[in-house]
Structures are given as structure tokens and as C-alpha cells.
Amino acid sequence: GESVGLHLPTLSVQEGDNSIINCAYSNSASDYFIWYKQESGKGPQFIIDIRSNMDKRQGQRVTVLLNKTVKHLSLQIAATQPGDSAVYFCAESSSGYSTLTFGKGTMLLVSP
């Protein structure tokens, strides 16, 4: 399948550790910020989103933090598991059905 991680920043963690993946965005007018996970040979899969009027949102084992002052978004994964190994993309969009703009992606490698 596709080598999803070529030329990407990589974060290597041990199983059970917490992972933090960072993303800088450019459009201060974006209303929504979304994290996607792409495993090798698969399409991007939605993880969690956050609206621009929030600074934190929690899901199952994941937390997204938004800092609009410095245009920074992060994804925290608690108790990282080998199955979390993938490339993670942040994306931004306006409300409605407007286009998603993706960031460059970070490869997460989880060692057992």
C-alpha cells in the first residue's frame, strides 16, 4: 500500500504513553478544526472536531486543544496503543459544506 509516512514529521512513543500531536493552521476565519487519522492503505478517518468558540473538547481517549491566539491545534491521545499508529492530519473549514483544508500530517509510531 501507500507509504503514508514519507517525508513527514514523526512522533515515536511507547505503548501506554500519552501522545501529543501538534498542528499550526493559517486561516483565522475557520470555524471548525478537525483531526483525521490515516492508516496505511486506508482513507482518512474522522477522529474529533472542535468549533472555533471552544478551546478544548474531549472524546474517548482523545482531547483536542485549540489556541486561536497563536493558531495552534493539538491532539492528545491517552494511553497510546499500537493500533493508534497512523498519520494524523489536522484540517480546517468554515461552517456549512465548505472545503476542508488539510495540514501536512504527522506520523505516530507506537512501539509495544
Binding site: G1, E2, G5, H7, D31, G43, F89, Y97, T99, L100
Partner: protein
Amino acid sequence: EAGVTQFPSHSVIEKGQTVTLRCDPISGHDNLYWYRRVMGKEIKFLLHFVKESKQDESGMPNNRFLAERTGGTYSTLKVQPAELEDSGVYFCASSQLPRQTSGANVLTFGAGSRLTVL
């Protein structure tokens, strides 16, 4: 519910040939998008359909690329003639029109069609 399906999963062609990629969105999804990921880089937007109409085609690289969505159901993306730099993975995604404009546009992606141009 069936997800977004794409065909073929992998196509290898020679420079100058033609390739047509197909996407079947989730039934009932009026939004259909084409994206491309080249050489492990970021995912770049190509085109957005709302039903059968092209809402935004600002990401199409050049006139060698032609996307259609006749009848507002499945979509095809044709590359003719293909060049080496067209190699990459072409993703299709679909979403529903949000009932309220305050909703996030959550796209469901297909597994992608990998194109290799030799």
C-alpha cells in the same frame, strides 16, 4: 451503511495514457469531494460537487483533469493524458448537506485510488 467506495484501488499506466477513477459516495450524500495526496505529502483539495453541480473546482491542477458527476450519484475523475507528476493517491469523500449552517462538515473518505504513472 456502505461507505465511500473507490475503483480501482491501484492503477499503473504509462505517461500519455488515460485513466478514469470512479467514486461511489454514501447514499444520500449530496456533497462529493476529490482530494489528492502526492508522495506522502499533505492532502490537497481538487474539486467539490453539490449533487451534479461543480461547487468549487479551484484545486484542479490543469485541463488534463476532468471530473463529472452525472445524475448526482457516482463521480468519475479522468486524467488525460497522464503525466509523471500525476502519481499519487486520489481520495474521494462525501458528506451530507448540514441541516444547519452551524454544523461541522464531516467528510467520510474512501480508501483511495493509487495512481502510478511510469
